[in-house]
């Protein structure tokens, strides 16, 4: 990832029908974005359990982004709207856990928005980069040390 600066590790949960396809289109169109993102394919943004977000962030991910279809475009009618409601809950949980809100985001990216996918990822990587490393990461390393030594 070049340089000595902080390179955040981002987990992206992308729905199969729109956002994952948008990520593929960014590839087909050769639109470059930072290599900090690890994409996990889910069938619908409505499938993403808040536990996924919280456990990723408490175990050392620097940021988690959920991507779904634009409102009205959901392959499953309104799974994305369910995800939107859930995102509000996730923000409350983040506060409870003492995690900065900026480490989590929900975005809509359609299958034809390769450029937008790359831009959303760029922006989120920058946003998390500004927040610095997830303070819980250190704790995770400590715990791992205890567990594996």
């Amino acid at each position: 990832m070049g340089g000595s600066g902080f390179e955040p590790l981002i987990i992206a949960l992308c729905c199969n029908w729109c956002s994952y396809a948008g990520a593929d289109l960014a590839g087909v169109s050769r639109i470059q974005y930072p290599p900090n993102v690890r994409i996990i394919r889910v069938m619908c943004s409505g499938m993403v359990h808040p536990d996924f977000v919280i456990s990723a962030l408490t175990r050392g991910a620097d940021g988690v982004i959920m991507c779904g279809c634009h409102p009205g475009d959901c392959h499953y009618q309104e799974g994305n709207l369910t995800a939107q409601k859930r995102a509000e809950g996730i923000y409350i949980m983040l506060e409870d856990f003492g995690i900065e809100k900026g480490r989590y985001k929900l975005e809509w990216v359609s299958a034809s928005e390769g450029i937008r996918f790359a831009q959303v990822m760029k922006d989120f990587v920058e946003q998390v980069r500004k927040l610095g490393p997830n303070p819980l990461k250190k704790a995770v390393l400590e715990v791992n040390k205890c567990l594996y030594q």
Partner: protein, 1086 residues
Amino acid sequence: MVRLTVNEQKVSVEKGANLLGAIEKLGIKIPTLCYHKALTPYGACRLCVVEVHVPGREPALQASCSYPALDGITVFTDTERVKRARKIVAELLLARCPEAEAIKLIASSLGVTEPRIRKKNDDCVYCGLCVRMCEERMGKAAIGFTGRGPKKKLEPPFGKHNPVCWTCGACNFICPVGKKITVLTTQKPFIPIPNSYNMGLDKRSAAYILYPQAVPNKAVIDKNYCLHLNYNVCGICKEVCEARAIDYEQKDNKIEIDAGAVILSPGYEVFDPGLKPELGYGKYQNVVTSLEFERILSASGPYSGEALRPSDKKHLKRIAFLQCVGSRDHERDYCSSVCCMYATKEAIIAKEHAGEDLKCDIFYMDMRAFSKGFEQYYESAKKQGIHYIRFRVPVIRELPETQDLVLEYLNEEEKKVCSEYDLVVLSVGMVPPKHIKEFAEKTGIQLNEFNFCRTSVFDPTGTGREGVYAAGPFTEPKDIPETVIQASSAASRVISLLHDVKGTLIKPREYPPETDVGGQEPRIGVFVCHCGTNIAGFVNVPEVVEYAKTLSNVVYVENNLYTCSNDTQDRMKQKIKEHDLNRVVVASCTPRTHEPLFRNTIREAGLNSYLFEMANIRDQCSWVHMHEREAATRKSEDLVRMAVAKARLLEPLQKPLININKSALVIGGGLAGMTSSLELAGQGFEVYLLEREKELGGNLRRIHYVLNGEDPQNELKSIIEKVKTDKRIHLFVSAKILSIEGSIGNFKTRIISDREETEFEHGVIIVATGAREYRPKEYLYGEDERIITQSELEEMIASDAGFAKNGSKPNTMVMIQCVGSRDNERPYCSRICCSTAVKNALKIKEVSPDTNVYVLYRDIRTYGFREQYYTKARQKGIVFMRYDADNKPVVAKNGKSLSVKVFEQTLKLPVEIPADMVVLSAGIIPDQDNKAVAQLIKVPLTQEGFFLEAHMKLRPVDFATDGVFVCGLAHFSKSIEESIIQAQAASARANTILSKDNLELEATTSFIIDENCDGCAYCIEPCPYNAISLIEYMWQGAVKKIAEVNESMCKGCGCCMATCPKRGAMVRGFTMDQIESQIDAALQAV
């Protein structure tokens, strides 16, 4: 073969190969600039230097592109000496061309950002690519180098324009610093190949992929432009293609197909606005067609979705749309039906892209927003600041200095206004495809007066020739949903015709029995794809392979040049058997395109097809990190680790099968319901047809004539006769539904008909409950018998007493449009009233030519071929007067006489018309029983109370609930032919289910983990498919509540899984454990 060592790895290549080839064969990437695979090596830039050790000689730096691969030599590509040398080369190149992106990229990859020597700002790096390209590949030698040392110069012979140059542009194309070399060689302009997908707004090469999402996503060669095919030169693509997929010898094949039926859907072309020179299209760059503007606004378009104009790529501030270009004129007396809405859509999107301040003016004659939801969309567009100006602009002028465009028009106050715009969009209409007459002759069908396919009201998909059907805008201009509906309708006609032989040409695929992997420790095989250079060019594949070998449970790893090739499929099957693999991971492209192929392969090897996982290291890695090899390699390793983690937890899945009851329930015995029933019965299925009234026929009973002269009552009689005599149709009149249970394939319905209860089972439901005419509360309706609705007028004209015969022919008749439509209570347009008014007005003129007929309207919406009757009505002297929604007409009764007062908007004058008769064009309102029916079958309604389909554009007859379909006025107000088309479409959709003995359901559905579920029922409400219910049973002497999933309704979206606080609901193939294993694996890098 020669054998040599590169960076301590052994490699053998063919004799005569260069060193670079041997190095690249090992997956080692070194920088190059003047090297090109299809050109002779030049050794000019020296970027590719490596350290060569020849036994018995001093180690020396050599340019690997031009140095031969010799037997026994040892090569190092990455020593300090090599790095130093490359850095100096990069510095020199950067000093020569400091602004060139390609040079900057190469330099920065070698750690050089600023040269230490003086910058030359040259526009040529002297790599000689263009020179070799022109001479070796084009056989022209139109450009070369003259002079030596500092005097070296790129120029054509004698420094003059060269007649040899044929402006192919290959030199421009290959130049790494973007120099326009054709300017040196020729005076002739370089004309790029227009990219037809972007309507010629940008260029493409002769070998191209139609557009990024094209299916199949394969490159083709345009034989009109390919230099190799036309002049036997170039041929570069064949050498560059690593998959060896280029075959210049391919010829067009003549194919003969034995078919039992033919569906014609040749589509339409947009009107060529060049035929109207006064609009300046083709002359002024900033006058574009609506389709061109669609591409301009598209994210995959020529300007990546930025709202720019073609001439100077200036950001748009003011746009004008001109409607009815090529529609509603003397030659084309029809309405193209779609332009009003697409102009509105484009204006809204343009505002989204360019910002709120963008000025959008739409110049129109009548705003035709007549389909479901369109009027509301139009109203919302007005609220978003889009201006609609009722004026047909005759001429467009350009201001030459700014290339802005000037339109002159009369505003609402009838004042002449002159406005300037950055861009004018011509809303071009639909015209029949070129050569349509030959096409019609070949297919033996008739065309109408506008050269569209001739159809009739009661056979709207038939062409008049048996076995030949038509669909789409070929029969009449129409939008996406109507095209989709008519396509299904044509399919239904074909199924009816050929139902005896349906499926007889299908051979089922046979698979070996599935290996039982239950209880086995995972044994994972990983196949990593090079994808030619698509992955290997940007990711160190050998490193990824080595890494994969270190992962637990991975017992076999290999890399393939192309994992998707046929021979790799055979190899994969062999390796699965050889190594006893029970899970397979492929690290290559995207599962969205290739998962089905690999799943099929492992199934053929005896593995359950769900024991497969992909790591997307191309589309989501190598292609998006092309300049970060190290990071892309690490990311690929992470992605493989994540895929392996999930693979460990994969379980075999089966697609559940359900039996299909091969009969249908059709609710509603109007035209739509009867048409659907007859289609399905004709296709061999039992039909239960319910009608709540005593008689069949619905609204059609009150329609006595249609615009084109066909006789609806005769048709109705014959349809009813057919329904009553068809043995497969079980008709229930005066019927009421008591209950509907079950789901797709197996419904059970209880009804009461003529006081008798009946119960039957069926596999699908078609909802055809219809709608009805609004009973006006306005305009003194009901207070005077001379104030009637359009359908009452129609009855009156057609009655035995007759409108003309009763001795009181009215002198003056006033029709008022939009009664109960387009108002606050019912904000939608009822679609058919304008055409009905025109039809009845013409009929009045026919039976009573002396009667004066006035039609008071807001917009005349005679879409499609109905327009010609509107023209005819005006020719017959029927007077059309426009009123405004804020200033509606007033019907007054003074003693015995009636009068209508209206403020006429074109004249801007109040008018009072003494009337003998006032006819109200009452709208269409949804049936009052819709709510009850919707609740019984658990499908949604729109706000207005019509049934809501699964997708407005792409699934216009389906419900989101499988096995339930909608047609006719239950869906939305529509004409006779549109009802028939949709009814046939619903049958075709139903046939996709009924024609199967059993239905394969999705395997990745949700399931409940009994011990985790405490019956809290949180998961029930979020399920978009009502697939979850709460059941109770006795367990250990107490009532236990638990959620239950109906697999035949579940689509596997997983909303239940994400809602459950107890980890009690999971989606197969995407369980929480599986997704968490991927997250954990991703975080292992931390």
